[in-house]
């Protein structure tokens, strides 16, 4: 026994030492990279943080098609892509921002731009000479999401919104021949579906954040903040908001809506397999159906209109520059990512392009599921561009959880949320 131990300990220690070698080598590597950035004639490496999905063709396209193409067109500039999940990327950027250890370029959810602009991390892009020319080649709505105050802190990378997906067979079996065009028809259809399919739900909603509930409130004539984004009083707790949330809550209590409770059947998969007759989702759902449920007959329609019309939420990503010392190279990469060629490649795998010319490309036009989304985008509305939005979204999520999952009064909960949001806006 004595021998065993005395043999084992040195082995472990030796391993540690080997590792020490690896670790310090790695450190030197990064130190060299950063210092070489300033020297002319040597390769400049740009770090690009993104949340292109690892489990879909997005990351592969980025790594195997786009970046090699960019590096070929721009000798001397290398791009090092780093994948995070959407949630982790947000956290990482916040932490790295406070530590001053940011990537050169990052893909940003459109709702993060005001936040990182406020903390002074994003570089102004309109300072670049050819900015106007590039901006002019892009869709106006998505471009506006990168503007804070008088300046642009990013360029749009892809856009999206949600439409109503409906299971034709389930609806017609329940006596509903068409996708519900209005909220009234929608709630009527929910009741019919429940009486035909007792074990299914008429509508699935995967979460209770602004992304999920705002389209209902907007379409019914309500809102979350005043038009000048200074208060939620009289908007989130307006009669129009209370009215639609009460209707949704009643439908939830009647077992007609589900999907956001822990343990619920996942909404997109559940829609394809008959658990949810309807759902509101983005273009990625179509891509998922094609790969996982090739036999499922996908039907899409505009989101049910309320008194204010059919207003869905504007989603999508921007691309922004954090780098202070590699701005020229970073700008080249940003321009490349919004260029026609790059946008076509991403457009082919379900990322709706923002480059006007790429929308005319035959391969992109051939994607038959884009038209309903492009139609819905015409009336889509962006979430308020305030820096406190991520926290406000948290307040909304908490209030909605209480409204739906407890027997709390809708108006009381909304009033409480309003005062919490107004406090956040004052900070």
């Amino acid at each position: 026994m004595i021998n065993k131990w005395s043999k084992l300990l040195p082995i472990i220690l030796a391993l540690t030492l080997v590792l020490a070698g690896c670790g310090s080598k790695g450190n030197q590597g990064t130190a060299n990279e950063t210092s070489s950035g300033a020297k002319p004639g040597k390769d400049v490496t740009l770090t690009f943080w993104h949340h292109y999905s690892t489990a879909s063709p997005e990351e592969k396209t980025l790594k195997e098609v786009l970046i090699p193409k960019f590096e070929q067109e721009n000798p001397g500039v290398k791009v090092n892509p780093v994948a995070f999940t959407w949630e982790d990327l947000h956290k990482k950027l916040q932490i790295s921002g406070s530590a001053g250890d940011l990537p050169d370029v990052a893909r940003l959810d459109i709702i993060w731009v005001p936040e990182f602009q406020k903390s002074g991390l994003l570089q102004e892009l309109d300072a670049f000479e050819d900015f106007d020319e590039i901006a002019g080649s892009l869709l106006e709505g998505p471009l506006s999401t990168a503007k804070v105050g008088d300046h642009y802190y990013g360029l749009p990378l892809n856009t999206n919104t949600k439409v109503l997906f409906w299971n034709k067979e389930m609806l017609s079996q329940s006596g509903v021949e068409q996708a519900p065009a209005t909220a009234e028809q929608f709630f009527e259809a929910l009741g019919k579906i429940k009486s035909k399919y007792a074990k299914s739900w008429g509508f699935g909603e995967p979460a209770l954040q602004g992304w999920n509930v705002l389209p209902w409130i907007w379409s019914n004539g309500g809102d979350v903040l005043s038009p000048d984004f200074t208060t939620a009083e009289g908007y989130l707790n307006s009669p129009a908001s209370v009215d639609i949330l009460t209707k949704l809550k009643d439908a939830y209590n009647a077992g007609q809506i589900s999907g956001f409770k822990p343990g619920d059947v996942a909404v997109t998969e559940g829609h394809a397999s008959g658990s949810y007759a309807m759902m509101a989702e983005g273009p990625w759902a179509v891509a998922q159906f094609q790969s996982q449920f090739p036999d499922f007959d996908v039907e899409m329609a505009s989101f049910p209109a309320g008194s204010a019309g059919s207003i869905q939420v504007l989603g999508g990503e921007d691309i922004g520059i954090f780098s202070k010392d590699k701005q020229e190279e970073s700008w080249k990469f940003v321009k490349f990512m919004v260029s026609e060629a790059a946008q076509i490649e991403m457009g082919k795998i379900g990322q709706i392009p923002v480059n006007l010319a790429s929308m005319e490309n035959a391969d992109v036009k051939a994607i038959d599921y884009y038209p309903p989304f492009l139609e819905q985008l015409k009336t889509a509305k962006a979430r308020p561009p305030v820096s406190a939005w991520p926290q406000i979204d948290g307040v909304i999520n908490d209030a909605m959880s209480k409204i739906f999952m407890t027997d709390a009064d809708v108006k009381t909960e909304l009033d409480a949320a309003v005062s919490a949001i107004d406090a956040l806006l004052k900070e």
Binding site: I12, L13, L19, G26, V82, W86, S96, A285, S291
Partner: protein, 274 residues
């Protein structure tokens, strides 16, 4: 009468075993299901069709093998530090008397009651100042520091139970403190290292928030980060997530199987002072 009692004991054990193994079996079966059957309704326990494609996908996408290696390196190196420092600390507290002994021991034990997430920011500042940001060393020292209080506590309890008569015999034979530590106490305490290994292996192997915070370079990532990346913003391919998680859990299961015959002897280590 006696056979009834045995039967009851066995029935309870089997029930307990089934409950413990159910999540693992469920993981395995989910990982073996093709994507289209994952959300079958009504759900089916046994897949009607099996596939290894999720495992291939999990192993083939990202640098899964590299992340496995990183995790192994970080875990092994953390262990070297943990056992080196904890065993010497425990020996000192068990065998020597010195000024401030109980106070300093209380401070070390105080480390047990601080939730590690609250330390995230101060550790982050410290690791940056030490120049260990974005390096595997930044993981190793923090993992080791986090595990030292519990490991010291466990080992000290066991060392205390080893009779002091042995100390005297060593002294009589002319052996010093080092001989006592390295040649007598450590070999005798083998059972105490087993639970310490298993508890620490779980925490170090699965650690996520700290690894996410300080590692930027994708080549230095550990497994939990890679597993998290299988979850998309809008859609998650659960079959791949489960397949990846299964691959990640294999080393821990192997470790447990290897060490389990010592495990029970060790878990009572330090429970009673000899």
């Amino acid at each position: 009468m006696r056979s009834l009692k045995t039967f009851c004991i066995y029935a309870l054990l089997v029930a307990g075993g089934l409950i413990s193994i159910y999540p693992l079996v469920y993981m395995l079966l989910t990982a073996l299901k093709p994507m289209t059957l994952l959300f079958e309704f009504p759900p089916r326990f046994l897949p009607s069709e099996m596939t290894w494609s999720n495992f291939r996908e999990a192993w083939g996408s990202q640098n899964f093998a590299l992340y496995l290696l990183n995790s192994l390196l970080v875990t092994l190196a953390s262990f070297a530090l943990i056992f080196l420092l904890s065993s010497m600390l425990a020996f000192a507290y068990s065998r020597f008397d010195f000024k401030g002994k109980s106070l300093s021991f209380a401070i070390i034990m105080g480390g047990l009651v601080i939730p590690s997430l609250t330390l995230l920011i101060p550790q982050f500042v410290l690791i940056r100042q030490l120049g260990l940001f974005d390096s595997r060393w930044g993981l190793i020292v923090v993992y080791a520091a986090g595990a030292i209080p519990f490991t010291t506590f466990l080992l000290k309890g066991f060392f205390d139970s080893i009779s002091r008569d042995i100390d005297e015999s060593v002294e009589m034979e002319g052996g010093g403190a080092w001989t006592l530590f390295a040649s007598i106490i450590l070999p005798l305490s083998k059972p105490a290292f087993v639970p310490a290994t298993i508890f620490n292996a779980l925490t170090v192997w699965e650690e996520f928030p700290w690894a996410l915070t300080i590692i930027n370079d994708p080549l230095k990532r550990t497994l939990p980060i890679a597993l998290a990346n299988f979850q998309g913003q809008y859609t998650t391919q659960w079959g791949i997530v489960f397949a990846g998680s299964l691959i990640a859990v294999i080393p821990i299961i192997l470790l447990f199987l290897l060490l389990q015959r010592y495990f029970i002897a060790g878990i009572t280590a330090g429970a009673v002072k000899g």
